[in-house]
Amino acid sequence: MDERRYTRDHEWIKIDKDIAIIGITEFAQEQLGDIVFVELPEVGKLLSKGDEAAVLESVKAAAEVYCPIGGEVIEVNDGLNDDPSVVNNDPYGKGWFIKLRVTDPESIDQLMDELDYNSFVESVT
């Protein structure tokens, strides 16, 4: 499956076989404003669903990104160290945070697809 799924906390997740890639949505980056620092977990760390997958610092506040699925961190986006603003400029592409090896890839089927997420965003704004 190569389709993004979305959480009510404005994370997106994309799974290819047992590898998940995680980021935040366009709506979330817009709400946070300029991202100036991204704190990422260590490679090898085991995360459960709901754990902190990253911390984003904007000019005025910090926000936690929650892991939508459990797994082992196999890669983090080191590029964000040099230029955290790619989270603002390309949230679905170069602005990803972590890649996870997941044990239960089917569990993301419960998450929203793009259509559902868009109407969810409309309902909260």
Binding site: D9, H10, E11, I24, F27, A28, Q31, L32, G33, D34, V36, F37, E39, V55, L56, E57, S58, V59, K60, A61, A62, A63, E64, V65, Y66, N88, V124, T125
Partner: protein, 380 residues
Amino acid sequence: MVLDSRSNTTSLKKTPLNALHKEYGARMVEFSGFEMPLQYRNGIIKEHEHTRLAAGLFDVSHMGQGFLTGNDPGVAIEKLVPSDIMGLSSGNVCYTLLLNDDGGIIDDLLVSNLTVSKLGPVIYVVLNAVNAQAKFCYISEKLKNLVEVKPASDRALVALQGPMSEMVISRYFPAASELVFMQAKGMTYQGVEYFVSRSGYTGEDGFEISLPEHCAEHFVRCLVNEPEVELIGLGARDTLRLEAGLCLYGNDIDESTTPIESGLNWTVSKRRRQSRNFPGANLILEQIEEGVAKLRVGLLPQGRVSLRPGSSLFDKGGNNIGVVTSGCYSPTLKQPVAMGYLLKKYSEIGTTIYSEIRGRDLEIEVAKLPFVNTNYYRGK
């Protein structure tokens, strides 16, 4: 992540520029009971940089403007503030503090000695937006029979800040170029009386312009169409003032801090120190003589993690020695900056102290304020 995106703004007060902010893509937020622009499409960092390099235009109409009239309003208001207002000659502006009887700060304000067409010589004051009406009532009550307080709720207030401000404002008010920092004057534009003051809250040269609210939208559209000018939101207003080491009322100063603890000793004038006739004088003069237990300081977090208001500060042994009152990312320095209060013995510049953020120790250096040099125009 948890986003607070549902903003219930229906019950909020609006400035005369509300529709214009939305037209320019502002993200509106609640601030002091008003619906105000946090940022426009460019975002906080670009808005901040634009103000430092060119000219930024801020809507500050939420602030409380008013006139004190009477026999000698400058003498009267000295009962409530520690500065030399009697000695403030016509056309001059003074930053001062409304004090309670314990020397705590009820508000910080700008006081100008101005001549207004329909009122004659007045003391014009600009208070913070929070409880502005209540504070005008307080002033009125305390100075009963001495002054009449006339809140100017039909006036808007905008600030034009940055090195190109003078070039822009002089196209509308040629006489504005003759003002130096902390001077103000009534000026006419298209037959209407404006008050133009060379002052601001960014550390840059700039002007604050009071005008009738029905003129606000037209005037702001003219300024926005000037090539040097961009609209700037409250987000960048906060990062600019923090870089300039300026206090935000409610964060860095309040009724639990005195002018001496907050490093605003200069607001207590020499003459008033001798006459000892302002609220909290005994305590404040004792603090000047004997020193204070806590002091406002600049804080430079080491690394990239920002300090946020409310975080506790510790010494090496883990003892609580202070608290952060303001903190943000500095777009100019490209690193986090903060202000807070520290026990006096830790307040020396260069001292290493600590905080804890997300379960980890954060090393902090006590730093000199301002973080970015100010650029006020004090004359040639």
